[in-house]
């Protein structure tokens, strides 16, 4: 799957997560690719995970990196929309890290204080994994989700 398609997928997954009942906001985890870069061998591509500024186009900016791809990944994190002009809330996005062995989806969410946080998290995971299941090109999709706020946060 090329990076353009991965970017679209990241935005699509963000929208799916944001549309889950009980979710009040979705954001990529700041700096996630930097952490992944240190931990994962054979990194082939990373999308999302920047500041999320500037809406979907910038937020979904993709960076390809052949082989280890460390430099490419860093460029994505540091460069995705950081200097963009912002006029409103950023589009909900997720981070996607693709390696030869795994496709890792990373996202942070805030949940409504009227919902049950753990259940909302599981519902989001269910939705995203269900969507990823139809992407035959992705290897072993996995998900890393955090609740970073409750209520209006």
């Amino acid at each position: 799957m090329d990076d353009s398609r991965l970017s679209q997928l990241a935005t699509e997954l963000g929208a799916l997560a944001a549309g889950t009942p009980g979710v009040v906001r979705v954001q990529a985890r700041p700096g996630f690719a930097t952490v992944v870069r240190r931990a994962v061998d054979g990194l082939t591509s990373v999308v999302g995970g920047g500041t999320g500024l500037g809406g979907g186009a910038d937020a979904g900016a993709a960076g390809a990196a052949g082989g280890a791809g460390a430099a490419g990944a860093a460029d994505v994190v540091d460069g995705s929309g950081a200097v963009a002009t912002v006029t409103g809330p950023s589009a909900p996005i997720v981070g996607i890290v693709v390696t030869k062995a795994e496709t890792r989806i990373t996202l942070d969410i805030a949940v409504s204080d009227e919902a049950a946080g753990p259940r909302v998290a599981r519902d989001v995971a269910e939705r995203l994994l269900g969507r990823l299941a139809v992407e035959s090109e992705l290897v072993e999709p996995s998900l890393d989700l955090r609740i970073v706020g409750v209520g209006s946060l």
Binding site: S90, L143, V150
Partner: protein, 276 residues
Amino acid sequence: MSDDPTRSSGYDRDESGPTRASSGAADATPSPTGAETTADATPSPTGAETTADAIAHGLDPEHAAAAGDAVTAADAEAELDAAVDAAPDDGVSIERIADYLDEGRQPYDPLIEDDPSALAQLNALQRLRGISAQLLTDEVAATPAPAPSWIADVMSRVRLESRSGREIPLTSTHERTTLHITEGAVRGLIREAGDSVDGALVISCAIVGDVAQPDAIVTVDVAISALYGVAVQPLADEVRDAVARHLLQQTELVVESVDVTVRDVHQLDDEADGGL
């Protein structure tokens, strides 16, 4: 659960609700007995600096102790005091957050709105101002206000506590999925629950225990300020119930007790926001 009879505590997930309420925090000045920490308590000089720094960087007090010197659960609050001072100022400034709130959150500032820590501070400040505005219409508004730095001090604590901190695991139905709620989110939840009780304002809160371990038993310490004239024991009980209820709904923590300490009494007016 704390043995200190001056604290209002009691919460057991295995029961139908908060059922183990002991005597409330009946006095604005906590008893010096037990392990209580008072408003002017100073942290233990032994290893306090190292430990406070570790806490400031997201370590729980128990782990922080490993980096510094021995710190008990009861020391956490005092250590937090020190951590507030020691914490590096590496986020959006509180002044900027206050200005943004003054402008009605317009134009949209993504550095605040997209950052959970900054957003938690924004919401806490908004609640503080709401309380202040409410009091303007009360008789107590005519009485002397606390030191101007009071709210600024509370906001310093909010700033520290709103950091992501530890990751608290949630049960996942897929082996390839990891779900967490951040400690910062839980602290924000505790604050919001406590502040939602009329007459109460959360000064600080701490989750004591190895929260990163599923099913580990933890305790929650909440220090509040009570509005002048409000009966403190029922207030503390109400705060405890609200916190316990929210924790039960939003986390999977096994909470042994929610200990509420009334540490201060406040009277606010429009000059009491510390310039914020």
